[in-house]
Amino acid sequence: MYKGTIRLCYRKVIDVHSVKPWDKLVFEDTYNELLLQSQYYNQEKKYTSFSDLITHVPAAEKLHFLVSAAVIGYLQQLQGKVPDLLNSLGRLFLPFNNYRFEIINSDLLHKAKHQVAINFFSDHLEWLDTINNQLLLSIPGNLENGEQLTELFTIPPFVSVYSIKPTANHGAA
């Protein structure tokens, strides 16, 4: 039965083992941007690991945001669809406009330790029902001849329900 309006979050981890072209570009460019911008917080070159840097220079937490400038161009290339996540028909379907980039680990001398995540937050979805292990979702406004089109989706690892807005008076239309 109708549960409410939800947003899903997919935490896409990218590291030295990533193989997709898009992932590799993000890996390379976020590392290079980190090398550039970390110098502002590390002017005496005292730290090489990202964890040491943010431990000793709390303002370096801003690097998550600052380095994300290297990611925006790649987000635009996704044309508004969350990557990797497919509906039961095998198509990309999840619309997104919101993200949060984070540096998980890195080292200014060892690129192989660079590991980042892009959190993709989907736009609002109507969670209509749950069928076996699949969510029956609809994207608001996705109509055909007055019928609300729907998506079936199995939640894989690294995907969670980010938010929910239950609607008390909404019937199971």
Binding site: I14, L92, R100, N119
Partner: protein, 245 residues
């Protein structure tokens, strides 16, 4: 040709669907983002394989900082920033090929940054504003288009600058200050004339350079820029920075 292609992809999809559950059953969760997953989701899903035409191949995309118009979604009095970089180690000749990062606050005194302290989501189309990167030309010059910065408590009006050499090595972190006399742009923009552009703070509570903890020791005015122009026509800042390259 198309049919052959379809059959090949179809069989591949069937094959994967059959082995995927076994593969994922003995896979550690933490490993699920590793390895070749070009035939499935990156998330260890064992139900579907992609059956879509591949999207356009991703192309190398420069940092969104690389732009001359850094206004983004901000509004305010039009402002052009012209910074010339010279090399102290080269008889103060123009330094070409240097990367110049600048950032400053908006008319209300806010910088672009992630909101909140947790994992709040941010719209990627408007997250970066009033931050930019340009490479100096043969005259050592970079030019940015922006809006006149506002101010915030405790600080004089300023622009942050970080200059790197061509290879990305940090050469200098500095800030640029503004003239603040009664006929200055700072006073005009934050005065009554600026309110129609959205500058509503006035000059009450403003920290002048002499009291600013960054600029108060700059008695030689090395960090002080020249600002010309008018409210209606916009302002232009010019400034020269010497680095040791």
């Amino acid at each position: 040709m198309e049919r052959k292609h379809f059959l090949k992809n179809g069989l591949a999809a069937l094959g994967l669907a059959a082995i995927a559950p076994l593969a994922s059953a003995c896979k550690k969760e933490a490993d699920s983002t590793d390895g070749d997953s070009s035939s499935g989701t990156e998330t260890g899903s064992c139900t579907v394989s992609p059956t879509e035409t591949e999207g356009p191949f991703p192309t190398k995309s420069p940092s969104t900082l690389v732009k001359s118009d850094i206004t983004g979604d901000r509004t305010g009095v039009p402002f052009t920033i012209k910074i010339t970089v010279k090399n102290k180690n080269g008889d103060c000749s123009a330094l070409s090929g240097a990367l110049v990062d600048i950032w400053h606050c908006d008319k209300d005194g806010n910088y672009s940054e992630y909101g909140g302290t947790g994992m709040q989501s941010t719209n990627y189309t408007s997250v970066h504003f009033l931050r930019g990167r340009q490479t100096t030309d043969s005259n050592g010059l970079v030019t940015f288009t922006s809006i006149f910065p506002g101010w915030y408590s405790g600080r004089s009006t300023h622009i942050h600058v970080h200059i790197y050499n061509t290879a990305g090595k940090s050469l200098l972190v500095t800030q640029i200050s503004f003239p603040e006399g009664s006929d200055s742009a700072v006073v005009a923009v934050n005065g009554s004339g600026g309110t129609s552009y959205g500058y509503t703070k006035g000059m009450s509570g403003y920290t002048y350079k002499e009291k600013d903890n960054v600029f108060s020791d700059d008695s030689a005015n090395i960090e002080l820029s020249t600002v010309t122009g008018s409210l209606s026509g916009g302002y232009t800042l010019t400034h020269t920075i010497n680095v040791a390259a």
